[in-house]
Point group: none
Chain length 214, copies 4
DNA sequence: TATGAATGAGGTTTCATTCAT
DNA sequence: TATGAATGAAACCTCATTCAT
């Protein structure tokens, strides 16, 4: 493969200058997302993306370094989306409701992004950058959970001796992988039963043996 | 593009006839496992495998159809290994010990096979066959868990209204993905704390609010 | 084994868009013809063709699916050439002259294309498409002959009871295979004697026992 | 490909020593013929032949140098068969009957051997040896025809000024290629009409304008 | 003589990426 | 900025033939 030319590399680094250029870039990103969702990363061809975006090969490389690079951009979009979706204020009723709400919001944030998340997961094995991105995404959720539990510990509704950090990691892992099984690997779950089962585990964990009141 | 000959296909289907052939096949499998663990699936070349096995290209295709095919064989080996590792008789002391034991055995079965499991996971997205294999592997663990819980329900140590099926799925997902994060994505966990946190969740779930005795 | 991408296939189906592309395609076709004539089909490598065309492997597959596909295109060119060569207006003198003229034109049309025709013949045994192409080529000549004879039957210079269809087939076969022996299998014939012998047979067949006047 | 070892080469040169060896050799030949007829030369694998003969690769190379070599042997058998079939004594009635008889015998000799003859034809383009074999086969028929015509010239039933050599070549070419079209390229002919048309051409050629009596 | 495992040169085809226009 | 042609490294897989047993 030939080395990139200084001129073209510069153009990519600078990014689009005109509005038309910015619009073009967005078209390519949108097209890439659709293609990745449809075909996965390996089976997605740059040719497919440019066709979907009604652009040409040359144009693609005006805006993106590599196929990996455009995927990273798509992935970042997904991460931002999920952050926003889950950042909604929590209703402050009882623990039970709060848990149910957290789980429902996770599922609803995950579902439309499942395909891209699965690809991040897949690429995380081969690419340090994707691994970091993937771990960041989950970390933001896990830390949010952790802070929530810590607040409950502070007001005494959760036992003080709970290992909050590791518990948050584990409960997070459970949610993530259940959604992966469900949305990406095609395992069939009934939504209501599943959400209840997950909430039951969270609730039992945070509220063991009648500690405090719900 | 040459198509495989019926005769050649037959030879592959039948498998090695002599001991020498069987040994060769095994060498290739062992080599393939090492290469896959080292380089992942995508970056593993058939050339790497035959080099590692001190064999020739032709020999590879005497025994295996494709790179995918040999991976499937490697994966099957891993699955059998894990089945055996986890099939050890359970000590019948209290719930707490049983849970800790189950989790420890899972971790110890998972750890040496983590790389291959991660690849199964990766390939499951693109290949129906790998997806089936992957789901089978987890199913055997989840069903074992489920049966264990059902037995405890029978003797009253676990609430009768627990949704055993979905709970087993969720607890299984938690274990699997935690191990994946730990062994394959390089997340750093302290083994003792992690095992305790996981066991805590299991225990709280199965033994909520002082139901029965530990 | 990688499958062709839909996008790539489309590009090949659509054909070159720019003049530069069209020129490139033609270069490849010309090169392919030379290589096939020199080395035959089996011994012609795609590598030989691209080398002859001063192009790269990738470029070849931009324009053609397979080695078979480019041969089919070359063959079509030959067929068109021959159609044109033989479509020249027939001088309307006596039967004897007309027969000689037909045979001479056949030989002159065949000679420069003999190598490719021989390859069509060779491939016709293995490929349905080539068989159809081969039979089409001869059919156009045989039908032309047949119509010629029918016109002569109409004006009474050829017996009405002649089986025109089968006779045309047989006389055609004679011409074709004689040329094949001569130009492709290296049998040595003197052109004048051969043309006379062939014409003698045609003439005797169409004008038996002094039927009509020459 | 490795060079043949002196030992093995010698064995092949010497040929089978025991009866068992001779039988084995024949099994391989018979199997090869069936495989070639079924699959053609290119698509016939040595593996197919040994399977059909219930032998092993090693055994094959005990008796034959190459795939080409065994084909040549098969072809020789066909050639001998055809010689015998056509060497039957000619009934000495009139020219018309003799011509019909010659054509019928050709067709009947050709038909069962059409597949192998077609392969000889196909290989003749690439191999000097096969070309020689192919030309020999037709030559024996053409020369027989030629001698027949010369005898008729001697007794005055065929014009003395006929170019017997070239005419025999041309009439032979017609027969051969008609059979090739019919039996190998799948062109549909009605046997009776075809034989009559061919005989008509022969007869008109040898007996033009009422020369002599039939 | 017979077997079947082993060889490896050789071929086809893809696709991310660059560059001339 | 946009286009699309060109590149070529790289990968997979076959099969005639040899050789150890």
């Amino acid at each position: 493969m030939r080395e990139p030319t200084a001129v073209q590399q510069t153009r990519r680094d600078v990014g689009p200058i005109t509005d038309r250029g910015a619009a073009r870039r967005r078209q390519l990103l949108d097209a890439a997302r659709r293609v990745f969702e449809r075909q996965g990363f390996t089976d997605a061809r740059v040719a497919d993306i440019v066709k979907e975006a009604h652009a040409s090969h040359g144009t693609f490389y005006t805006y993106f370094d590599t196929k990996e690079a455009i995927f990273v951009e798509v992935a970042r979009t997904v991460i931002e989306d999920m952050h926003e979706d889950m950042a909604v204020a929590v209703p402050t009723s009882g623990l039970d409701l709060r848990v149910h709400d957290a789980i429902d919001r996770f599922i609803h944030a995950y579902r439309p992004n499942a395909a891209i998340i699965a690809l991040m997961e897949q690429l995380a094995l081969d690419s340090v950058e994707m691994r970091a991105l993937r771990l960041d995404l989950r970390d933001s959720f896990v830390q949010r959970t952790r802070r929530g539990i810590e607040r409950m510990q502070a007001d005494g509704s959760v036992p003080a001796d709970l290992d909050v950090e590791y518990t948050a990691e584990a409960l997070g892992a459970m949610l993530e992988y259940t959604c992966h099984l469900w949305f990406s690997l095609g395992k069939e779950f009934e939504e209501r039963r599943l959400a209840d089962a997950l909430a039951g585990i969270w609730f039992a964990t945070l509220h063991p043996e009648g500690h405090g009141a719900p």
